[in-house]
Each structure stands twice: as C-alpha cells, then as structure tokens.
C-alpha cells in the first residue's frame, strides 16, 4: 500500500487475540472445562489506504475486527505484523507524533467529562493535545458552532442528550485540527435527526476541509450515504475494498429480470452461454424470468442478446427488462454471510 498517495495506509496487518478461560462452561458439552484457550483473528493481512479528503467506510459484523483496526491506526493496539502509516510515518515508531494528527471517536465510551461543560471539555482536551491560548479559544467556539452545540456550550455534559454528547466527542477529536479522523460507529443509538446531522457534518468537513475520515459501521445506510470507498471485513479478513459504486455495480450487474406475458421454461435459458442461474416466478401480469449472468461484459452482452432472441423466437411477449439493483446491505450479506463468497 503506497503511503505517498494515502494519508493512512495499512499493509499486511495481522492481529490475533488469545484469551484464556478457567473453569468455563462448554456450550456444546455443558461441562466445565478446567482450561480453555481461545484464539481470535482480528486482522489477517489487512491492507488498505485512505486518501486525502476521502471518507472510507469499514463494514463488518460484530467481532469482525473493525474497532481493532481503528485502534491499531490510533496506536491503542499494537499489530502482531505489518505496518500502519499515517502521513508516511510508522505508527509504532512515531506514535506520539501521529496522535497530534489523528482524532479518534471510539464507540460506546463517554470520552467527555460529564461535570464540565462542552467548552470546558474542549479547553481540557485542547491542553492535552497542545492547543492553547487564543487558538484554543477560537477553535473551541468554531467547532461548537460548526457541530451545532453553540447554545449548549455552557451546559454541563451530563444534561446533554446522547446525540449532543456524540457531537461533543467529535469536537474533542477535532480540537487539534487533525488531518485524519477515525470514527467508530458514530451514529449507533442515535435518533434519525442526530444521525443525519452528524453525517452531514462529516461530509461537510471532508469536502470543505479535505480531512480523511475512516468510519466503521454496521449500518449499511450510513455507509451507502457517507462513504466514497468501502472495505468489508469479516473474521479479520478484508473481503472487499472498492468504491461504493463499484461494489454495487459489481454485485448488481449480474442479475436481470425479464417480465413476459406467460411463464417460460427455465431449461431453455439454462443452456445459453454466459447464464449462471435461471428462475421463474409468476406475477399479476404474467411471469418474471430472473437470470444471473457471468461478470465478463462481452459474454454478458452476448447472453442478454441470446435470451431476448430466444424469448422472441418462442413467441413470448416481452413486457419489460430490469437490472436488479443491489443495496450495500445485500452486498454485505453476500460477502459476510454463510454462503459462498464471490
């Protein structure tokens, strides 16, 4: 992974966690085991990069290794192998210097100090990140204004709503004006308005200020709306890493639906070169022939032409053709589900 084009780059990252349990009940045998060792692969040769001004989404089911990846970029977790670089600097070697350039919001933590107000919190964390004096004053007000907490700046954090606390956590991460922002599940548990507002702010600061953002989420709508590129991680393995559009195209361009006046014989189409799967369903105005084609454009075009010719030759009336639109959610399920991965 070239670090010259990427603000953040991960190359062949490996991380395994070993947990040891004593006298734990075995779920299968229902017997207590004296000693049990459990090995979890949180990252297996994970490589990807984040460009300047890009929002990169890291998707994966629970326990896939998303948070571990974020923690490895922020230096909280040491990788077993591989190199993590931020702005060309190795995180292991320049951890403290890099932390000045990276803002992190981790999931499920309080981050802010509840007896203090948002303004006081920003002053406290600003000092911890070397931001002082006039710059701190201006930056704090600017951030609170930007994120929409201007009116709550003097209210103790414990009286703020969950969404407002999350907004404050983002402000804290941004206090030193970092180039890189790592957001671990930033919209989890928030209402629609708060979630929308946070997403808008993330997009705004990426587009206007050129910040590079890594967002981990298991909410596909968040990823689809927010991310320029998406990496899908499962059991510590990066199973896909493409732009959101590419990922949707890759999985949606294979399935076509032909609406015809009556039910066709599926076997006739199964023999056509380039056809992988055929199924038929009855509909109110006739039937739907669903065909999954190969990915290669030439073969796919030829197969499409052949299907239309066959339908015409057999006397079916073609009422319409649809290309099946996949959502990121179905792509995600195909990649991380128990079925075969493509």
């Amino acid at each position: 992974m070239s670090s010259t084009t990427h603000v953040v780059s991960l190359s062949n990252i490996q991380k395994t966690f070993v947990t040891r349990h004593f006298f734990q009940l075995d779920e299968d045998t229902h017997k207590r085991q004296i000693y049990r060792k459990r090995v979890v692969n949180a990252a297996m040769n994970v490589s990807f990069g984040i460009r300047r001004g890009e929002i990169f989404g890291l998707l994966g089911p629970n326990g896939a290794g998303k948070t571990t990846t974020v923690k490895m970029i922020s230096g909280l977790v040491k990788p077993d192998g591989g190199v993590v670089e931020v702005e060309g600097m190795d995180v292991e070697r320049w951890r403290h210097r890099i932390l000045q350039r990276v803002g992190v919001v981790l999931e499920g933590t309080r981050t802010s100090i509840w007896p203090l107000t948002p303004l006081e919190n920003l002053a406290y964390y600003g000092n911890l990140k070397n931001v002082t004096g006039k710059r701190l004053f201006e930056r704090s007000h600017e951030l609170l204004d930007f994120i929409g907490l201007k009116d709550q700046k003097n209210v103790q954090v414990r009286y703020l709503s969950r969404g407002q606390k999350q907004k404050l956590a983002i402000c804290i991460a941004l206090i030193a004006d970092p180039q890189v922002l790592l957001l671990d599940e930033p919209t989890t548990g928030l209402d629609v308005q708060s979630s929308r507002s946070i997403k808008d702010k993330i997009i705004q600061m990426t587009r206007e200020q050129g910040k590079s953002v890594l967002v981990t989420t298991h909410d596909m709508h968040v990823a689809q709306e927010l991310c320029d590129r998406v990496g899908i991680i499962n059991h510590g393995e990066l199973v896909a890493c493409k732009t959101t559009e590419e990922l949707l195209t890759l999985f949606s361009d294979q399935q076509f639906e032909f609406r015809v006046d009556r039910e066709p014989a599926a076997g006739r189409f199964q023999e056509i070169r380039g056809v992988r799967e055929v199924s038929t369903t009855l509909s109110a105005d006739g039937a739907v022939l669903t065909v999954r084609l190969v990915r290669e454009p030439d073969k796919r075009s030829a197969a499409l032409y052949e299907i239309v010719s066959t339908l015409h030759g057999d006397g079916y009336r073609l009422l319409g053709v649809n290309q099946h639109q996949e959502s990121l959610e179905s792509v995600f399920l195909q990649l991380t589900g128990p079925g075969p991965k493509r």
Binding site: L76, L116, A123
Partner: protein, 283 residues
C-alpha cells in the same frame, strides 16, 4: 516539558471547576475527615491511660497519640496517591477518559505524572489544613521545619509515585487488580500509622520488609521532624540531629530511587503489554 505543564494547567482548572461546582461535596469531605480525626483523638483522650499503659510496655513514648494521628494523615496521603493509579485508573477506563489520555501526544506517563502532581499537591494542602485544625483544636504542638519538611514531603511523594506507577502498570493490563489494590492501599495506610523506629530494629526480616515498602521510612522521617523536632536522646544526652543525617532518610532516598526506577520501567513495559493485549484504555 511544555506538555507536562499544559496538562498540569488543565488538571488544576478541571479540579478547581469540579470542586467549585460540587462545593458541598468538597466541604462535606473536609468536615468528615476532620470529624473522624477528632473522634479518634477523643477516643485517645477517653482511654488515654489504657492506651499509654499498653504502649508503654512496647515503646517508651509519651507522644504515642500524636504519632498515631500524624501517621493517620500520612497514611491518607499514601492512600490517595496510590489510589490515583489504581481505582482512579480503573474508573477512567470505565468512563472512556483513559482512552483519550492514551491518545494524548504527551504519552501516558507524562499525563499521569501531571495528574498525580496536581492530586498530590491538593492532598498535601488539604492534609496540612487538617493537621493545623486538629492541632489548634486539641492544643497540641507540631514542629514545622521549612527546609526539611518540603524535602521530605517531596521524597515521600516521589516514592509513592514510583510505587503507584508500578501498581498502575498492572491495572493497565489487568483491570481487576484495581480492586485488589485496595488491600495494598490499606496496608500502606496501616504502615504509615504503625511506622516507628523501634519496629525497624525489632527483627531483621521485619526491618527489611519495612524498609522495602515505600511509606515506612518516609513516615518515620516526617514524624521525627514534626513530633520530635529533630531531637534525639543519645546516652541520656539530648542532641539536635538533622533529619538529613537520620538513618531512615538514607533508606528513604534509596527507596525513592528503587521505586521510581521500578515503577517507571514496570509502567512502560505494562503499557506495551497492554497494547499488545488490546486492553489499553478500555475496561
């Protein structure tokens, strides 16, 4: 260095705001502390004869009660400093503040050093106020030496800091150590109360253990200055011997070097281990 002072500034402001915002809680804490000491002193006064008779068998010391009360305050200081690294760290891990500290560019050691300095100074100030109030109430007399006392307090603090770093390092990896550490804090508290020169000489093993622990020699030196006014009786002759020439002072110096080096090394190693284990900052 600038970073260290910035953290100190941030900590002072934070502590001041919280103390002011929750002034009733702060005041109640002081009143409860003062009340506890007064109850203890009252208990001593009521059963003074019995206590002195009991202690006379072991030590020929007319200042046993003062010794006890002062030991109590030094013990509170030790309890509080080590507590910042154990239960304090555990609490910060629970709330997520520890993760933010771990991601501060100044590093965890500097962050904790600054936090402890602020916490230590505020404990010394509140303890001094308590000592002054108690002595004023009961009409006792303590000998404040402006030269030796700050030096001793600083060395005591450094000693406890080193020990605290070692404990804190363990809490970073094994968060539940924080709960067990309460016993260690209680032990330090008890040691500060019990610490007497006579105990050091009672047996080789006990003496060695007492010298190895971070609070014993510090407590003996502070008591020597405040209670005995740096006066020793050698061959029935009362002689003024500076605390800096006291045997325990040298042990205190050695202890400072030992605990600081061990503590820092242990904390750094444990921080790395915790990063490898993936438990740094999280509970």
């Amino acid at each position: 260095m600038r970073g260290f002072f910035l953290i100190i500034k941030a900590e002072i402001v934070r502590s001041f705001i919280i103390a002011r915002r929750y002034w009733f809680r702060s005041l109640t804490g002081m009143v409860i502390g003062y009340g506890m000491l007064m109850v203890m002193i009252a208990g001593f006064m009521v059963s003074r004869d019995k206590v002195e008779t009991a202690l006379a068998g072991k030590f020929d010391d007319p200042t046993a009660a003062t010794n006890f009360v002062l030991g109590f305050i030094i013990g509170m200081f030790a309890f509080s400093v080590v507590g910042m690294f154990t239960q304090g760290l555990q609490g910060m891990a629970r709330t997520g503040v520890l993760e933010q500290l771990c991601m501060s560019p100044h590093g965890l050691i500097t962050n904790f050093l600054a936090r402890s300095v602020v916490g230590g100074v505020s404990t010394v100030l509140s303890s001094s106020l308590m000592v002054w109030l108690v002595t004023a109430t009961v009409g006792g007399k303590l000998h404040f030496d402006p030269v030796s006392l700050p030096v001793l307090l600083l060395l005591t603090f450094i000693n406890l800091l080193g020990f605290g770093y070692m404990m804190g390092g363990m809490v970073l990896v094994f968060k539940h150590v924080g709960e067990v550490a309460l016993l260690i804090r209680m032990a330090l508290f008890a040691l500060a109360i019990m610490a007497r020169e006579e105990l050091m000489h009672s047996s080789f093993l006990l003496g060695a253990i007492m010298h190895a622990l971070p609070i014993t020699d510090a407590a003996i030196c502070i008591k020597y200055v405040l209670i005995q006014d740096q006066v020793r009786v050698v061959n029935d002759v009362v002689t003024q011997v500076s605390v800096f020439r006291h045997e325990s002072f040298y042990f205190l110096l050695a202890s400072c070097v030992f605990w600081t080096a061990t503590g820092m090394m242990c904390f750094k190693m444990m921080e790395n281990w915790s990063r490898a284990k993936g438990t740094l900052g999280s509970y």
